[in-house]
Amino acid sequence: MSVVPAAPPRNRTLPRDLARGWYVATTSAGVRRRPRPVVVAGRELVVWRAGAGDAVVMDRFCPHQGAALELGTIVDGALRCPFHHWRFDTGGSCVAAPSTRRIPAGVSAVVHPSRELYGYVWVWIGSAEPEYPPPDFPHLEPGAPAHRRYSFQQYTSASARRILENGFDVPHFPVVHGIAADLQLDWSPWCDEHTLAARLTVESLPLPSPLDRVMSIRWLCLNLRSTPSYQTLTFELNGTPVAHELLALTPSEQGATTLRGWTVVPRSPGLLGTAAVFWGYRLQHWLGTRSDLRIYRDVEETDGSVNTADDAGVLRFRQFYRRWSGHGGHQDTAKRARGTV
């Protein structure tokens, strides 16, 4: 074991007003035989895996004397603390404490609800039990039709909400992404408690000169389905889906968020299913993310009181988001009112 070099002290600040939800703790491939420390929503966690099983997300420090569990080893399907060899099973209960007559009662490590899906370890943050399901993204399931795909990962200082609301922010498309056409946002009827769905359409987008001879864009459509913590998007060109996207977040602490996800481009016989479209899409995605991140880098939270009619999309999303961040939501105020009466 080598000596860990000292890092400068940091004060962990919890991300302000973060919604309850499923966040990515780390990639599945990042958790192998050794446990791995992560920070999600200001919480120090350790992710480990017993054999071939699903990853377990647990509080990072041993309840006994506070040693960091990522220095420990996995023995008989339990995580063994390096300091006094206490063992914790996948449910967090202490299953061995050497040299004690019996295992101390009531000692357990806090295990957070987690799921392994689409190459990520998802952890539920905000309450003891998940209040809505983790993402369902059939395009990456084993039986999915033929496609090309890539995953992406970017770091930003913006909050999780800022990233999720971006698709609903209609007036930023012409300015940041240079889409010089009329955009229209329609709310989809498939909204529920934890999902906000909308459709953003552009009719007859003029293409630059060499491209307009090859193809024409009669209408371009972006389907957005967002929960308070992750998002799925579908791009449609002239009625055919071009790309499906899963957008996930790791909010480490205030002012530190990692956005990650997958883009799936279906293969199809027409022009839209070709490698050229895949790489073209990937290039525009990269450029688009780059321009968004440049804005995110220096963005500051406002009180949200200065708005125009174009901002209806963002405002509705924020209203939806507030219900899940436990601040000023309808349910919350109702609960509080009931509590006081």
Partner: protein, 373 residues
């Protein structure tokens, strides 16, 4: 600087924060008890002032005309310049900025161009001692509450030992480094010593620790434990690693190892025996630089056996043991969550008592801590 380098400078370690191991919480801060602490090795303090961080503040160490080591708060009371940038002139420390001079007690003795020296022109001077190859500084109260304890292997009994100095940096706390010797259960878990017939006792009387040196001058500043165990030694062929661990731990001199540890709130003395024969002694001091910046320093040496090859073997085995043990302990110190609710079990009894004793001495330094912040 290129633009890429400038960008890296602007956001040095915020990238990919979720993947890196972070320093764990430590709400109590450095939590330093009133005691003697090591500042530096004697040999490193020569004619130039030596500036360093100690007790979460800046200090300057220097030698006066008689060669006595002095420790001052680093900033000149006049315009706040760091005295460590100054020099020693006629046995006095001279500030680099306006050449005010301070004597060994921190009192200003000369101001160029001024005949009447203000009575407030003095800098905080910490009591110091020089012993066992180190400069020791008292922290916590204006005057020491006990004398710097005795360590015979580096004074009266110097010829009987062969040893080495060590210096290990960690982001752990002072208390963590000291309580490690009290936490005997970690010997078997962390260090892999499979022990039979474990015996552990918190000592009640300083006379029981007389092998470590003269008693500590204040009875309540003393804390001692005694530990014994027999490392399990399987046949070499069945489990070579366990066999080697057991043989190294007992220096191939016997079966039963004993460890006598005693100390004061800022340091410890160790004597180890195998089958009742003394093998080595250790002095451990702490350099409490600040919150999550601590060094454990000291001297460790084996007792000469009379046969040079046996002494050399013991020295080698002890060196390996000491360094290997430290390399297992330091990552734990670096990453442990401190000063948060913990679970105590039966074998943590000594630890609980040590923590109570240690915190009582932290209380005695309350005024000093308030003055520093």
């Amino acid at each position: 600087m290129t633009r890429a380098a400038a960008r890296r400078e602007a956001a040095p370690d915020t990238q990919d924060i979720s993947r890196r191991s972070a320093l764990p919480p430590n709400p109590d801060g450095a939590n330093i008890a009133a005691s003697w602490y090591v500042a530096t090795r004697s040999g490193l303090l020569r004619t130039r002032p030596h500036r360093m961080r100690l007790f979460e503040r800046e200090v300057v160490l220097w030698r006066d005309g008689a060669g006595v080591a002095r420790c001052f708060a680093a900033h000149c009371p006049h315009q706040g310049a760091n005295l460590g940038l100054g020099d020693v002139v006629d046995g006095e420390l001279r500030c680099p900025f306006h050449h005010w001079r301070f004597d060994g007690h921190g009192v200003c003795t000369a101001i160029p161009g001024v005949s009447r020296i203000p009575s407030t022109a003095r800098t905080r001077s910490y009591p110091t001692r020089e012993a066992y190859g180190f400069v020791w500084v008292w922290y916590g109260t204006p005057e020491p509450l006990f004398e710097l304890p005795d360590f015979p292997p580096m004074t009266d009994d110097k010829g009987s030992y062969a040893g080495f100095f060590y210096d290990d940096r960690t982001t752990g706390t002072v208390r963590q480094l000291l309580e490690n010797a009290v936490d005997h259960q970690h010997f078997s878990a962390l260090h892999g010593l499979d022990l039979d017939d474990v015996d552990f006792r918190v000592l009640g009387d300083q006379a029981e620790a007389s092998d470590n040196g003269c008693p500590v001058s204040a009875e309540d500043a003393w804390f001692g434990v005694w530990f014994a165990g027999t490392p399990w030694r399987p046949p070499l062929r069945r489990s070579p690693l366990a066999w080697i661990t057991a043989v190294v731990a007992t220096f191939a001199m016997g079966r039963r190892m004993e460890l006598l540890v005693d100390g004061w709130p800022g340091g410890q003395r160790f004597t180890a025996y195998v089958d009742g024969t003394e093998v080595y002694k250790v002095l451990m001091g702490i350099v409490p630089e600040g919150n999550r910046a601590t060094r454990q320093v000291g001297w460790a040496g084996v007792r000469r056996t009379g046969r040079w090859y046996r002494t050399a073997l013991n020295y080698l085995l002890f060196y390996v043991q000491n360094r290997a043990g430290t390399s297992q302990d330091v990552p734990i110190y670096d990453s442990t969550r401190s000063a948060q609710p913990v679970v105590y079990v039966r074998y943590d009894n000594g630890l609980v008592r040590f923590r109570r004793y240690y915190q009582a001495w932290v209380e005695r330094a309350a005024d000093e801590r308030a003055a520093g912040s």
